[in-house]
């Protein structure tokens, strides 16, 4: 769950951002989930992976905001 939902997006960003930087930047949309905000029982891995995406976006957005990314 975490490998696909969180690590998968991390790796996608890691490898796509250099290409986007080379062409002047661009826009990235990461699909999280309402389970990142409020969730239910038996969803710990899913909720953690989707909330992790929010942190990933918050930090990476600051890393690349001045480099052509919105």
């Amino acid at each position: 769950m975490v490998n696909t939902n969180l690590r998968g997006v991390f790796l996608a960003l890691k490898y796509e951002i250099p290409h986007m930087l080379a062409s002047g930047g661009g826009n990235v949309v990461v699909t999280s989930s309402s389970n990142a905000i409020a969730t239910t029982e038996k969803r710990s891995a899913y909720a953690a992976s989707k909330r992790g995406l929010v942190g990933l976006v918050q930090s990476a957005a600051q890393d690349y905001a001045a480099k052509g990314f919105a």
Partner: protein, 83 residues
């Protein structure tokens, strides 16, 4: 770079995750409506994929350069609901 935060959306994936892929459509629709009544009060239905995609397009566009590091919640009020 932004995060899109969709609520529960009526897709094949959600139907499969609920173990409902082999039931008749009418049964799935009835159960989905029942679920939504308690989890998405007000609208009482899941999102259509197109209703989420519309906001993915907004975030992907070049029209909002000051929006970055943000979370766009499109969940029909699901997370506004406290109980």
């Amino acid at each position: 770079m932004n995060a899109l935060i969709p609520g529960t959306t009526d897709t094949e994936l959600v139907r499969r995750a609920a173990g409902m892929e082999h039931v008749p459509d009418a049964v799935w629709e009835a159960l989905a409506k029942q679920w939504a009544k308690s989890h998405v009060p007000g609208l009482e239905r899941m999102a259509k994929a197109e209703e989420i995609a519309a906001f993915a397009l907004v975030l992907a566009s070049d029209d909002h350069p000051y929006m970055t590091g943000a979370q766009m919640v499109v969940d029909g009020g699901k997370t506004a609901h406290g109980g």
